[in-house]
Amino acid sequence: MKKGFWILATLLIITSLMAASCNKPDTTSNTTTPATIANSSTVSTTTTAASESTTVKTTTATTVSATAANQPKYGGFLRYAYGLEPSSLDPQTGNSGGDAYYWKQMYDHIIASDSQLVPDASRSLAESWEFPDTKTMIFHLRKDVKFHDGTPFDAAAVKFNIERIQDPATASAARASFLTIDKVEIINSTTVKFLLKTPWSAGVGLFADRGGTMNSPTAVAKWGKSYNFHPVGTGPFMLDDYVSGGSVSMVKNPYYWGKDKNGNALPYTDGLRALIITDATTLSAALETGKLDLAFIPNKDVKKFQAKPEISTIKQEGTGVSALLYFNLAKAPMDDINLRKAVSYAIDWEAINQAIFYGNYSIADAGMWLPGTWVYDNTVPRPQYDLAKAKQFLAKSSKPSGFSMDCLTWGNDFTQATQMVQSQLSAIGININVKVYDVGTATAKFFATQEAPFFFSSWSRYPEPDWIAGNNFKSTAYYNPGKLPNATVDDLIAQGAAEYDITKRKAIYRQIQTIVSDECWVIPGLYGVTYCGYWNAKVAGVENMFGWDAKMDLRWVWLK
C-alpha cells in the first residue's frame, strides 16, 4: 500500500508538471473571425495611415453584441497591468517612456494630439491657439478647469509649468526642447503668450508629450522633491494610492471637464488599478484567469490569446523602431558607403522577425517615420534583402574579401537577433563580434565613447519627426555617433523645424529620409507591434484608447 502511494505520488507530480508545461491552446476556440468593431469608424481619423494603425480582432459574436451594447456605461474599476515600474508619476521629471501608462490617466496637455499627432483642441487644455508670427504662440485656455487639489488652471499655471521645465533644478527630460521658449507672458487669466527664440513648429507636437502636461503649482510647492509620487494634474483620474513594486490605484476625478463625441462626461469608470507585473508568464496568467481586465500580451502568448473566444485582442502597429542597426559613419570600416550598403542588403529582417519576435513585428518600410503618424511615407526607396546586391557592393568596397567588426547590443531578444545578423552577414564574408552590455552601457559605448562601428538597438515611438531627425541625423546630435557634418541634412532639419505647414513639412522629411536611406546611415529593420488583450464581455471602448505614443489612455474605456 505504501509503495503504491509513493509511486502514485511521484507519477502525479511528474504528469502535472508536464501538463502545465505543455500549455495547449484551447482547441475549441479556433474559429475566431477577424472583424472590426462596429463603432471603430468613429475613432479612426481620416487618413489611411490611421486606419491601418489600429485593427481590432474579435469574434463574430462579439461584433454583434458590441453593436447592441454600444452605449458607454458608467461605474466599476478597471484592472490593468504593465511590466515596468514607474520612474516617476510626474510627467515632467520622469525619464522612462513606460511612465506614461500611469501618468497619462491623471494629466491633460496644453495641446493634445490624436493618434497621428495631429493637434486636437477638443481634448486640449487650450481651447484654441494661434501663431501671429513664426516666433510667437498664443494660447486661449479653457475656463473653469481645476487641478485635482482645487487649484484653478489658468495662465499663471501655464507660465509656472513652462518655467519649471526650464529650471535646471527640475532635471526635466523636456528641458532641452523647451529652451526654445524665450519668455512666457500672461495676457489675462485665460490667455498666455510664448515668445520663441527660433521658429518651432515641432513644439506643437512636443506639447502633446510630457512637457505639455500641466501640474498643480500648489501641489508642486507643497510636496517639493517628493511631488514625483504625489502627482496632481487636471486629468480624468486622481492618484489614490501607489504601492512601490505593486500597484498604482486611481479614482475618478468627479469634476473632470472632458467629454466624449456624444457629449457624455469622461471618464466612464470609477477608477483604475494598474498592477505592476514584470514577469511575462505571470502577466499572461493574470489576464487569462480574469485577475486583470486588460493587459498587453507578451509576444510568446499572442497566438494563444487570439484563439480564446472570451478575450479579444487589439493590435497597435508602429510602437517603435523595435529592431534598428546603427552605423558609426566616421569609424572604419563603416565609413565606406559600399560596405554599409553590403550590410544593409544582406540582412533578412523577416527571418529575424519570425525567429525572435514570433512574427509579430512588421518590416520597417518607411525608415524612422512610424506607421500611423502623419510623416509616414513608405514610397522612399530603401535597401531590401538581396544577397546578390550585397555581394556586388562588397566587391566594390574597400574590403572586397570581407572583414571583421564589433557589434554592440543589449537585452536577450536583441542578443539573439544580433546573432542572427552575425549568421546572415557571414554568408557574404563579414564577421561580426557580438558584444553584449546592459542598455545604458551599450548606448554610452556606441554613442558617447564610440567604441564600435555597429550597434543593434531600438528607437521608441516618437512621431514628431523633428525630434527624431534632430536627435539622430543632425551633425551635432547625440545619436549620430560619427557626427560627420552634412550641410544638406542639417539645413533640411532646420527647415522642417521652422515650417508650420504640415504638407510642406512632410515633403522636407521625405527628402531627409531619401538621403539617409540612400547613404545607409541607419538600418531600421522592424516596427514594433503590440497586442493588448481584454475580456470582451466586460471591457469596451478599447478602440479609442491608443494615443499617438501607442500608450493607453483609459478615459475612453468603459465596463459593460
Partner: protein, 315 residues
C-alpha cells in the same frame, strides 16, 4: 553561554564593517552614479548634471561619502530614495515584513517536508519510499525556483484555477486569502531548501542509527519511534541546524527572483526595481539588510549549536 554570545557578537563587528565598505564601494566604483541616474545623460546639459552631482553629494571624495553614509546609517538614517524621495527606512518598513513572511513560511515548509521525509528515507533505506524520496530530492535540487514557480502558476492558477497567479496578502491579516496568495511562492522558494534539508537529515540519521547507543536503546526494549525521535534525531540534527541557518541567506537571495515572478511587493523586488532605477540609497540599504540578515542567522545558528552541543561553546 553569555560570554560565548558576547564573543560571537564582537567577532561580527569587523565583518559588518567590511560588508558596509563592500556595499558602498561596489556601487560607487563600478559606474558614475549620475550617468546611471540619467540613463546615459544625453537629455541633460552639463549645468543640470553638475547641480545633481552636488545635490546628491557625489562631488565629494569617495571616502568622505562613505563616512557620511556610515554616520547616517548608524543613526538609522538610510537616506532618501532618489526615485520616490521617501526615506529609505520607510520603503523598507513596507517591504521587509513581506519578504520575511515569505521567507519564514518557506523555511517552515522546508522543515515540515524535510524532517519526516528524511527520517522515513533513512529508516526505510533502499525501499521504494527511499528511492522515490531521493528522486524527488534530486529533482527539487536541480529545478530552479523560477522555473518551478512558472510551472506552478500554469498548473495551479491557469489550468486548475485553485490559486491566484500573483499578488500578496499577509497571512497575519487575512489567514485564508494570505495562505492562498503565498502558497505558490512559498513552495517555489522552499522546495530546494526542503530537498537539501532532507538529504542532510537522511545522511545524518543513517550515521546515527548505526551508533552503539542506538543499538543499546533498542536492546533496552525502547519503542522504535522513541529511539528515532528522541535518541537518534537529536544527535542527527547538529549538521541540519547549520544547514538551516545557512538557508536564511539562500531564501533572501531566492526572494529576489520569486517576488518578481509573483509580483510580490517585497524587499527582493524593491532591490531589482531600485537597481533598474539606479536608486543607490535603496540598493545599498537592501544589500546591507540582506547581509545583516545572513550574519544574524549565522549568529543564531551558532548560539543554537552551542546550546545543543556544549563542546562548541567551551572550545
Amino acid at each position: 553561554m553569555g560570554s560565548y554570545i558576547i564573543r560571537r557578537l564582537l567577532q561580527m563587528i569587523p565583518v559588518v564593517i567590511l560588508v558596509t565598505m563592500m556595499v558602498f564601494m561596489l556601487l560607487h566604483l563600478t559606474v558614475d552614479p549620475i550617468a546611471l541616474l540619467m540613463g546615459g545623460g544625453e537629455s541633460l546639459d552639463p549645468e543640470q548634471v553638475a547641480a545633481l552631482r552636488a545635490e546628491y553629494g557625489f562631488d565629494k571624495p569617495l571616502i568622505i561619502q562613505y563616512f557620511t553614509w556610515m554616520g547616517h546609517t548608524l543613526t538609522g538614517d538610510l537616506g532618501r530614495s532618489h526615485k520616490t524621495q521617501r526615506p529609505v527606512i520607510d520603503e523598507l518598513k513596507d517591504r521587509l515584513p513581506v519578504t520575511l513572511e515569505i521567507g519564514l513560511f518557506s523555511w517552515l515548509f522546508s522543515i515540515i517536508i524535510a524532517i519526516p521525509a528524511g527520517i522515513l528515507s533513512a529508516v526505510k533505506r533502499g525501499s521504494i519510499a527511499d528511492i522515490a524520496a531521493t528522486v524527488i530530492t534530486v529533482g527539487g535540487l536541480a529545478v530552479p525556483g523560477f522555473w518551478l514557480g512558472t510551472m506552478l502558476i500554469l498548473l495551479f492558477a491557469v489550468q486548475l484555477r485553485w490559486l491566484p497567479p500573483f499578488g500578496f496578502v499577509s497571512v497575519f491579516s487575512n489567514p485564508i486569502e494570505g495562505l492562498k496568495t503565498i502558497a505558490l511562492p512559498v513552495i517555489s522558494l522552499g522546495v530546494s531548501a526542503a530537498a537539501l534539508n532532507m538529504r542532510q537529515i537522511r545522511s545524518s540519521m543513517l550515521e546515527v542509527l548505526v551508533q552503539d547507543y542506538v543499538r543499546t536503546a533498542r536492546a533496552k526494549g525502547l519503542k522504535e519511534s522513541r529511539v528515532i525521535w528522541l535518541h537518534a534525531l537529536k544527535n542527527a540534527s547538529l549538521p541540519v541546524i547549520t544547514l538551516m541557518g545557512m538557508q536564511i541567506g539562500r531564501l533572501a537571495g531566492g526572494a529576489v527572483v520569486i517576488e518578481n515572478l509573483f509580483a510580490i511587493p517585497g524587499m527582493g523586488r524593491l532591490m531589482v526595481t531600485s537597481i533598474l532605477a539606479s536608486d543607490f540609497p535603496v540598493v545599498q540599504a537592501c544589500v546591507l539588510i540582506t547581509a545583516l540578515m545572513v550574519l544574524f542567522s549565522n549568529l543564531v545558528t551558532d548560539i543554537v549549536y552551542g546550546y545543543v552541543d556544549p563542546r562548541i561553546r567551551y572550545s
